[in-house]
């Protein structure tokens, strides 16, 4: 199997960054505020186009594709500030993502023939399965905007696999969680990787989560890659410590 390769370079926020996500791995992308991690994310998901360089998914360039095209090609993501469909039910939040793989929706929905009902049932079953995997099946009829914060995060995570992605990008999934929730989240991410056989690219500011979860970590500062390696290597890397805590003052 090919690795999933992402490569881009020569941007304002990112200077010639080379980044490679291998099949099935959990890669952490970290850096202090403004280091360029979110820009990297937006490039991969097609929100921005790279000024130079190339981004490839399983060997094929994805430059120029729109976000929804990338999504249907297997790149799923979550957002730093949770983005759900607030006025839809929990079930429908997952179901629309499942249904984005179906075709001929409009006329089918209007005519309501046999194919339509079969499709609806299949989507519902698949969505319900996902919800129960994430422990949300009991809230399936509530509106997404009415969920408590932790459940909203989980729903966002449940929606992503509905696309059957190869690569899942997680943008600060632990933001605003307490230590117990964070532990559960890490467990969940490992489980998703296992269950759906996908690679995870994780941007996270919460270091315990990143250190505990990732096999490999890439550290950015001012748009440049300053370190790469296992959590243990990265944690003692002097440049990383300096980027986060600042240099030891000379007169100290």
């Amino acid at each position: 199997m090919d690795g999933v390769t992402l490569r881009f370079g020569g941007l304002m926020a990112l200077a010639g960054l080379d980044l490679r996500v291998e099949e099935g791995e959990i890669l952490g992308l970290i850096g202090p505020n403004g280091a360029g991690t979110t820009s990297a994310f937006n490039l991969v998901t097609g929100v921005y186009a790279p000024g130079e360089g190339d981004i490839r998914l399983a060997g094929q360039s994805t430059v120029g594709l729109l976000p929804h095209e990338l999504a249907s090609r297997g790149i799923a993501r979550t957002f730093q500030n949770i983005r759900l469909f607030g006025s839809l039910s929990v079930l429908d939040n997952v179901r629309v993502a499942v249904a984005s793989r179906q075709h001929g929706g409009f006329w089918n929905a209007l005519w309501r023939g046999r194919a339509f009902h079969a499709g609806e049932r299949a989507a519902e079953v698949e969505a319900m399965d996902l919800l129960s995997l994430f422990g949300l099946e009991r809230q399936s009829a509530t509106l997404a905007s009415g969920l408590p914060y932790g459940d909203q995060r989980r729903l966002e995570l449940a929606r992503a696999p509905a696309l059957r992605p190869r690569l899942l990008l997680l943008d600060a999934p632990a933001a605003g969680m307490n230590p117990t929730e964070k532990a559960a989240l890490a467990e969940l991410i490992r489980f998703i990787r296992q269950k759906f056989q996908l690679a995870v690219l994780l941007v996270e500011h919460d270091m315990p989560v990143v250190m505990g979860l990732c096999e490999r970590i890439v550290v950015l500062d001012h748009g440049v890659k300053i370190a790469e390696g296992t959590p243990a290597q990265v944690r003692v890397h002097p440049q990383v410590i300096e980027a986060y805590l600042g240099a030891e003052p000379a007169h100290a």
Binding site: H68, F85, S87, N108, A109, F116, G119, E120, S145
Partner: protein, 310 residues
């Protein structure tokens, strides 16, 4: 609404509409009440179709009267040109054809409005759709073919209660069944969060343009019904105030709430009739209603469900 049940329900509603029409002729219902009922039916079609654009999909169109004008003029011109030598048994077919042609043409115009305005949102979109509506009106106003400023007259009075209620039922059915499906959840998904919708594999462009095309189609049909109800058409009837009227129905009913919008359309048709005694204050009250609604109940008067917006 379950699928097959929905279709059955639609058939029943159309039959009921035709039966009602038969009764109206048989027992000679009051002309005035019949007229008001037809107005209400047309407004239901307009409001429910605009609700797909403004309510479900969250775009803000202020040009619905323009689509209505396209449909109305097209249908009226067709029956005026072809209707002269038409035997009476063929009239319903001609009428139906005219309405559908009007709807199609309006849908085309909807496509022409929906595509270039994709990037716009909020008040910019509102202004541009208002502009499109006004351009359509000015074009009709200056086109000799459509009678210029005097408009079209002598349009046969074919729109009766059966047609109106039948098409109202069809509109409600079509919009409800599209929206009430997994495919149709894409409309509110695009409204709630366009970025997340795209990240979930939903093509926001397709949904936004479809909403305009489908909404415009039914507005065009409503225009045709309106033309054959009033028997005269002139461009001033399709100005920006008419668009605002329809928008107010949607807001009053609650954006994205079909039942509420139907109720609001009926209420807002009846209200001016009931207020006839206060004709001088009628429009002042109407304007006050808009302001108070926005200040006190922006989610709509008939929206009792849980808040749909976080």
């Amino acid at each position: 609404m379950s699928g097959a049940g929905g279709k059955r329900w639609l058939c029943a509603a159309v039959m009921a509409a035709l039966a009602l029409q038969w009764c109206a002729v048989r027992w000679d219902f009051n002309r005035y009440y019949l007229g008001v009922a037809v107005d209400a039916g047309i407004n239901v079609i307009l409001a429910v179709s605009l609700n797909l654009i403004n309510g479900h999909t969250g775009q803000f169109s202020l040009g619905h009267a323009g689509f209505m004008a396209v449909g109305g003029y097209t249908a009226a011109k067709l029956t005026l040109v072809l209707g002269g030598g038409c035997p009476s048994w063929a009239q319903p077919a001609l009428f139906l054809g005219g309405l559908l042609c009007g709807g199609m043409l309006a849908a085309l115009v909807g496509l022409a409005v929906g595509l270039p305005t994709l990037r716009l949102r909020g008040d910019y979109l509102a202004i541009v759709t208002l502009g499109f509506g006004e351009i359509i009106r000015v074009v009709f106003q200056n086109s000799e073919f459509f009678g210029a400023a005097t408009g079209l007259t002598g349009i046969p009075n074919w729109t009766h209660l059966g047609w109106t209620c039948g098409f109202a039922a069809l509109t409600v059915y079509a919009i409800l069944s599209v929206v009430d499906s997994t495919y149709g959840r894409g409309f509110p998904a695009v409204r709630d969060n366009e970025v997340a919708a795209a990240a979930s594999g939903i093509n926001p462009v397709r949904y936004k343009v479809s909403a305009f095309v489908v909404g415009a189609f039914f507005a065009g049909v409503a225009g045709g019904l309106y033309a054959h109800h009033k028997t005269v058409l002139n461009p001033t009837g399709f100005d920006f105030l008419k668009s605002i009227d329809i928008v107010v129905m949607v807001i009053l009913g609650g954006m994205g709430r079909t039942a509420g919008v139907v109720a609001a359309a009926v209420l807002l048709t009846l209200l001016p009739e009931l207020l006839r005694g206060f004709a001088e204050y009628r429009m002042i009250l109407y304007a006050l209603l808009i302001i108070l609604l926005m200040l006190l109940r922006p989610q709509g008067l008939f929206n009792f469900g849980p808040s749909t917006r976080a």
